[in-house]
Amino acid sequence: MNMRADPEAMKTREEEDILLDVRNVSLAFGGVKAITDISLNVKQGEIRAIIGPNGAGKTSMLNVINGFYTPQEGTIIFRGKERRSMKPHEAVGQGIARTFQNVALFKGMSTLDNIMAGRSVMMKRNLLWQMLWRGPALQEEIEHREKVEEIIDFLEIQHIRRTPVGKLPYGLQKRVELGRALAMEPSLLLLDEPMAGMNLEEKEDMSRFIIDVNQQRGTTIALIEHDMGVVMDLSDRVVVLDYGKKIADGTPDEVKNNQDVIDAYLGVPH
């Protein structure tokens, strides 16, 4: 029951094809049903928000999409390929990158290294060259370093390049995490509550980055967020989950005024 998006709210896009199609997925942990028979899709180039009360299964949904959880039922079609699950690092290879609800950075490493780690899949030089730090290994390192520096510039985190991320304030950590995900050059970027714990100013910054990534790089984004202002402003379409079930799906305006959503999630109309 995919509602056709309101053409008015849609931006002009070259393609309208579906990048990711989740079909009838169910996931349970022992007795806990985290996701019950949910279908949803993400179109090429859009910003897709997933909202819902705590414990609704949003994070689980992302985990299913990038292969960390294997659903008991249903299939996922990504770029036309159908599957039930795959190894997370395969998902990365296919172009799915993500950030995490509870910052999952490599705490002992510097910002630069964290973002460089995002490029691990793309780096190939073997141990021997690494050992010598000459020729191809060095060259490869420098090539990727340039790419990473672009991201660092883009996210305006030059000043913390060498700081171990464990010491950074939370907001910056989230930003580094975004950087790491971007370093993977994903075609689908999954963001799990990127603005939780941020103040207004930082949320504005983060919004700007998300929009830029989406517009300049053409990256498709799936976004979980509890700040309704952000969700409503940024997203093209919103899907609402509640206790593992989908209760609404549509443009921000449609969702905002949906009574079920108000009851289950928003509390008061926003």
Binding site: N66, F68, P88, H89, A91, V92, G93, A97, R98, F100, A104, L105, F106, K107, G108, M109, D113, M116, A117, G118, S120, V121, M123, R125, L127, Q130, M131, L132, W133, A137, L138, E140, E141, I142, R145, E146, E149, R180, M184
Partner: protein
Amino acid sequence: MFYRTAGQFKTSYEADHALFPVRQDAYLLGFILLLAFVVFPLTASEFAFRALLIPVLIYSLAALGLNILTGYAGQLSLGTGAFMGVGAYACYKLLTIFPEMNIVIAIAMSGFFSAAVGVLFGLPSLRIKGFYLAIATLAAQFFLVWLFQKWAWLYNYNASGAIQVPNIEMFGITVAGPRAEAITQYYFVLCFVCAMTFFAINITRGRIGRMWKAVRDMDIAAELVGINLMRAKLTAFFVSSYIVGVSGALFVFLWRGAAEANLFDIPLSFRVLFIAIIGGLGSILGNYLGAILIVALPVIIGSVPEAFGIPIGSATVEHLNVMLVGALIITFLIVEPHGLARFWAMIREKLILWPFPH
């Protein structure tokens, strides 16, 4: 003042990737190398070579190997001693089977044996984590030492069950065996250790090093970032065990001169672990600092009462020594859980700011 970094600008990423982005660090290293290659050999006594310098170098190398596994890749290992043993026995067998083989090659090759064994015992790390993984390494520890004892082929069926290093020459100079001079052995070990350190630095700061650290800091996230956990962990076991194996071969061939199986038992593993931890996990420099502390300290403590002519029984000295080492370990952990390397980093940071803090 000395550590003024201002005015040192990098104009390319290549320069930024140099071994020592801060020039003073390079000077410092030069100074240390000068000490190691010139000053010590000129001044040290035979006792100093055998009781201090050579063991410090070899233990640092072993700790470096362990540090790669535990400090960089986050896989706790309590089996270092046994892997050193694999290196030592491999080298022994290589040299008995091919007596003509150059000892440098034999030592370098023996590392591969322990690397292979390391990877084998590293396989469980794909499923088992943290302290539970320690069991896999302990299984290696106990099983291998048992094997060293029971498999007579390993020690050429010697009645005593020990391996004995014969006199080995290289370019006409005896480098190993009872006739070798301490100073020759020192240089031999020093060169090996320097080369291995250089390689280790390069590996740990590049792609592979990053993969390891990522796995250490958060393996789930590493996996979700596209790092193949299996590859990362097994390369860590490989590289680590290689270095440890080489250090084991050096340990026996260039220092101890002979070894029984139980030399590689758990106290050795713990000693190396101490060095790595007191020195600082995830640091290369730390291994050296740690080794200096753990190797030199007992020697010094042992000679203090003697120097002051205090009549203490040798057993009491030994007991006090053990107690002190225990207390020191605890003290160091409390003062700086991140090890001596962090200590140095702090000093260095202060020096950079000095004399104008904040």
